[in-house]
């Protein structure tokens, strides 16, 4: 009777210890295995270069409207606008948004034309970290204009597990 009692307890204890050890190992291994990739200022510059090409990037004209302090990075309201008469000879052809520290530098690219009437686009984006957002506009004359905004993100967009 006593022996019967004793044996299961010993195995149970060993089982618990082993389980805990295994859980610990998994707990450490998981974050290492899925360490999210992050864009760097260098990869953002590369992505911008891809859009702009050899052309010069001027500062101004584009406006980024984003809250400076963001509580939830999963849905951040973003409005980009560009001053332009939007006529057939002088309009905004495209606007692009890039981030510095999201896993991927590109956020959104839109194509506009004289029929757009107003070069203003709003959407909701994800931000993985406090970082710099850059918007670039391409004009019909081939010039590129950019502006940037710094944001502070309290809760980062979902890079954690499901």
């Amino acid at each position: 009777m006593r022996r019967d009692d004793h044996m299961p307890q010993a195995t149970r204890r060993r089982f618990l210890i082993e389980t805990a050890a295994l859980a610990g190992a998994v707990g450490i291994a998981v974050p290492l295995a899925v360490k999210p990739a992050s864009a760097t200022p260098a990869s953002m510059r590369a992505a911008i270069r891809k859009v702009v090409g050899e052309a010069a990037l001027n500062k101004g004209k584009v406006k980024i409207d984003v809250p400076p302090l963001i509580e939830n990075g999963n849905a951040v309201p973003l409005t980009i606008s560009c001053e332009s008469p939007m006529t057939a000879d002088d309009h905004v052809k495209a606007m692009h948004v890039f981030t510095e520290k999201n896993p991927q530098p590109n956020v959104v690219s839109v194509q506009l034309g004289p029929r757009s009437g107003r070069a203003t686009v709003s959407t909701r984006i994800r931000l993985a970290d406090s970082q710099k957002i850059i918007a670039i506009a391409q004009m019909s004359d081939g010039s590129f204009w950019s502006s940037e905004a710094e944001v502070i993100v309290t809760l980062a967009a979902c890079l954690e597990g499901v």
Binding site: V76, Q104, V108, S109, T120, V121
Partner: protein
Amino acid sequence: MARALINAPAKAKRGEIIEIKTLISHNMETGFRPDNTGKPVPRDIITDFICKYNGQEIFRAELFPAIAANPFLTFFTVATESGTLSFEWTGDNGFTANESVNITVE
């Protein structure tokens, strides 16, 4: 079929700049989130959005994983003539959705 919402004026004056708001239900899985086994959940996002006014393209957007779930896009166009505004979303895994609204221009 994903649910899409369009908010555009039903009536407009000729030459007026109108605002079009679109929203579509889609979870926009980024491809960067791990599942409970530690492997990343495969990417499943809407990649392109096109708006046509009587068959002519007036707005196009290329979306990336950094767009929040249930992509929301607001843009403008000039009301030129009565007709239809059609919207088309395409994405990963053969995702497509279409929606259209009528507009009367006086």
